[in-house]
């Protein structure tokens, strides 16, 4: 038996951190994309919404690319089984991410109303699809899938759409939307910020209910048979409870109009929920419904040399990356104000 304290475990933790960062950061990007059509009254409002994420959305998405690359390098079997198993779902996800990215960059490049309206639709759809699918995918990983011999997933596309995973998808969608609404209330001003706050108030109760349902349903399950070195169930349970409480705290923040800590609260909910998923997974990375077929940090990981090289590279460059990404948020701090529109008719 491989020891628990190993480079493979370290990479499990690092990949968990990458996903957590990704959901925290791109979570509000998705929320902004989903809510813009509902909150904006005119083109200027829409531009204000999009510009809150304009300078940073692309670097937020890189968290996903690095999570994917790190999974490929550190856990090739996990990467292979998950990406081939989720084939059609990932195609949908890629479709969403592609049209979303292009819409953000191309929308403002022409002035025609029809041009912008089409890209607005693309931004909405391209944000909605991934916001929904990530919750489905992660619930599937934790809850278990039909994984047979050779670590092959055999459930097909519809095998991914189990009821609990659908709840996970909707809960994720609600949480990302709430997070995005709160982000908009924090980064815009005036009436637009007010509408964002109102949207967040509308979303907070359904989100709390859905997250609670997800934690209870997914967390109660213990499929795939007993596995040594699992983290005591109290830890993921506690983290799940923290996620629910954080959404509630966000509700209080909304009520008191404290945008800063409301954002910290919805962000904490995302972090806690992702942490709950990974702590209930460990040491497994994909749970099989069949006993003894789960992928684990041991049977799915790369050999020592690869993990060592990756660890050294990560130790050197991660602090640097975090520093300049944080600096970019610092540069673009502050609320976007509605510029005075020149009156063309006077």
């Amino acid at each position: 038996m491989t020891p628990v304290v190993s480079l493979a475990t370290l990479w499990f933790v690092l990949i968990a951190v990458l996903w957590t960062g990704y959901f925290f950061l791109e979570g509000f990007d998705f929320g902004v994309g989903i809510l813009t059509p509902f909150l904006a009254r005119d083109d200027l409002d829409r531009r204000m919404c999009i510009n809150t994420i304009g300078p940073t959305w692309d670097a937020n998405e890189v968290w996903l690319l690095v999570a994917g690359g790190a999974t490929f390098a550190a856990f090739p079997v996990w990467y292979a089984t998950m990406f081939s198993g989720f084939y059609l779902a990932l195609f949908l996800l890629l479709f969403g991410l592609i049209i979303r990215g292009v819409s953000l960059e191309y929308r403002g490049k022409e002035h025609a109303a029809a041009w912008r309206a089409w890209w607005d639709r693309a931004l909405f759809v391209g944000s909605l699809i991934p916001a929904l699918l990530w919750g489905v995918a992660f619930t599937d990983l934790v809850h278990g899938l039909q994984i047979g011999s050779g670590f092959h997933y055999t459930g097909g596309f519809f095998g991914l759409l189990q009821p609990v995973a659908l709840v996970g998808g909707v809960a994720g969608l609600a949480l990302f939307s709430l997070h995005g609404a709160v982000f908009l209330s924090l980064k815009t001003s005036g009436e637009l910020a007010g509408r964002a706050r109102a949207a967040a108030r509308l979303l907070v109760v359904p989100t709390a209910v859905l997250v609670t349902a997800l934690v209870l349903w997914a967390g109660l399950d213990g499929r795939g048979g007993p596995v040594p070195h699992r983290i005591p169930a109290t830890i993921p349970w506690t983290l799940g409870a923290v996620a629910v409480v954080a959404v509630g705290v966000g509700g209080i923040g909304l009520w008191r109009e404290r945008d800063g800590w409301t954002f910290a609260a919805t962000g904490s909910a995302i972090v806690a929920l992702t942490a709950a998923a990974f702590t209930s997974l460990f040491p497994r990375v994909m749970v099989s419904t069949a006993t003894g077929r789960s992928l684990t940090v041991w049977n799915a990981s790369s050999a020592h040399e690869t993990l060592l090289v990756m660890s050294v590279v990560a130790a050197i460059f991660t602090p640097l990356v975090l520093a300049y990404q944080a600096w970019s948020y610092w540069v673009f701090r502050g609320r976007i104000t509605r510029p005075p529109v020149p009156d063309l008719h006077s």
Binding site: N51, P55, P76
Partner: protein, 458 residues
């Protein structure tokens, strides 16, 4: 059947993605150079040019980024057996590319786009250089992964996977440095030819001729130096290929039997089965390319096939000959077109007539397509010429696919990507040509940014 669909999907998505990659690398560097000239000389005109070509850069880069996610995902999606086999080695440079290059280029692109007026001029200049360095690092690491598929080093095969034994060997791979220098210089050539072609159009329409004449001279000089470099490094690569992948070299010439002092055919009429109807041949050239000697021996397809069959077991180890033969020639041919335009530019520039010769300007405009075609044919040659191997000598392409993904699924996504990419391609070309028509000094988007509030750039 499934393997063919998987290969078509990889070809469609990768060729498409790579239309945007070299031009983005090249334009990022050229925009950084223009902005540096503007900063150093306090020159308004270079500043306007940097902004103008910066917009063309961003329109390209957006599609490169959007389609780049597919590149990383599809190894696992369509090639899961490959992913398990190579993950230990191939995954590492991919992950490092994300951490070192993607974060850098995306973060500093945001700072560059939105930071004008918010960052000091010096810091703003630094951001575009960091974007440029990010794009180049990205090329380096992804080519480290690709070079290993052409020429595996620093590994041992254990069970169903190749394990890394020496990371430095991966980075010191001779194939990597030949591929990287060749690809990097090709990217600079591409950026140069786009700037030259767009400037030529402006000069033909007599728009802001003073500024675009400067841009054209810079671009022509850069393209000339870079394209000569492309040819030198291509030659180095050919010699490595002859040593490491002799079948690819033989397929490039459709050379069936080992020959000393082998000649190189510039074109062939008829089929490539060894009995052409008509050929234009340059004596001894293939020996020079492959071996750097007048009478060097170049192995033929039959001999290499016999050798590989003895080594790896009975099967065909011959790639599609016509594809290798013609993609190799088209790559070189479009490179020669670029070289000709660049030399013409040099001659005209010495006579101070570069911005006035309408023949030259028309040629430059038409030559915008040449680097894209050369880049595409170059990669088709590199990848198709390695077949039937996906990792040379270690794993065949038909062993690499995902066993659980059916033909129906792949056909569906292949159709989906093709339609989506076509639509986006049409939009991109339309947007590029509209932006190329924009005047140099147009009023910027109503940027309301100040030191205290972020700007509305989009």
């Amino acid at each position: 059947m499934i393997t063919m669909l998987d290969r078509w999907q990889f070809a469609v998505t990768t060729v498409y993605h790579f239309l945007f990659v070299p031009v983005s690398i090249g334009l990022a560097l050229l925009v950084a150079v223009m902005q540096t000239l503007a900063y150093r000389r306090k020159d308004e005109e270079w500043d306007a040019l940097a902004r103008f070509f910066g917009k063309l850069f961003v329109i390209n880069f957006a599609l490169g980024i959007a389609t780049g996610i597919v590149q990383e995902f599809q190894f696992g999606m369509n090639w899961s057996n490959y992913s398990v086999f190579v993950g230990n080695i191939f995954g590492a440079p991919l992950a490092i590319e994300g951490l070192l290059a993607f974060f850098m280029e995306s973060t500093f692109l945001g700072l560059w786009l939105f930071g004008r007026g918010r960052l000091s001029a010096r810091l703003h200049l630094a951001t575009i250089w960091l974007v440029s360095i990010g794009t180049i690092l990205s090329a380096l690491f992804i080519l480290a992964a690709n070079a290993w598929m052409q020429h595996p080093v620093g590994y041992k095969v254990v069970g169903n996977r190749a394990e890394l034994t020496d990371f430095w060997a991966l980075l010191a791979n001779s194939t990597l440095w030949a591929e990287f220098s060749h690809t990097f210089l090709a990217a600079i050539t591409t950026g140069g030819m786009v700037v030259l072609g767009v400037s030529a159009w402006k000069l033909l329409r007599r728009h802001e001729t003073a500024a675009f004449a400067r841009a054209a001279r810079l671009a022509a000089a850069v393209s000339l130096v870079a394209v000569i470099g492309v040819m030198v490094t291509g030659d180095l690569q050919a010699r490595l290929m002859d040593e490491q992948q002799p079948m690819k070299m033989a397929a490039a010439e459709a050379l069936y039997d080992t020959q000393s002092g082998a000649s190189f055919s510039i074109l062939t009429v008829g089929n490539l089965s060894g009995n052409p109807i008509f050929q234009v041949r340059v004596p001894h050239l293939l020996s020079l390319i492959a071996d750097m000697s007048w009478n060097g021996s170049v192995s033929g397809i039959h001999q290499i096939q016999a050798h590989e069959a003895a080594t790896y077991g009975p099967a065909s180890y011959v790639p599609v000959i016509w594809l290798s033969y013609w993609s190799f020639r088209l790559m070189i041919g479009f490179g020669v077109v670029i070289l000709a335009v660049a030399i013409w530019a040099l001659v005209l520039a010495r006579r101070k007539r570069l911005d006035r010769s309408r023949w030259f300007l028309w040629a430059s405009l038409l030559a915008i397509g040449a680097p894209f075609l050369a880049n595409t044919f170059g990669w088709i040659f590199t990848e198709a010429g390695r077949q039937p191997w996906v990792v040379n000598g270690l794993m065949r392409t038909d062993q690499a696919i995902s066993p659980t993904v059916g033909a129906g699924s792949v056909a569906l996504t292949l159709a989906g990507f093709t339609v989506l990419y076509t639509v986006l391609g049409v939009i991109e070309v339309m947007l590029m040509s509209r932006y190329a028509r924009h005047p140099l000094h147009e009023d910027e988007a109503d940027s309301s940014g100040s030191a205290s509030t972020p700007a509305l750039v989009y």
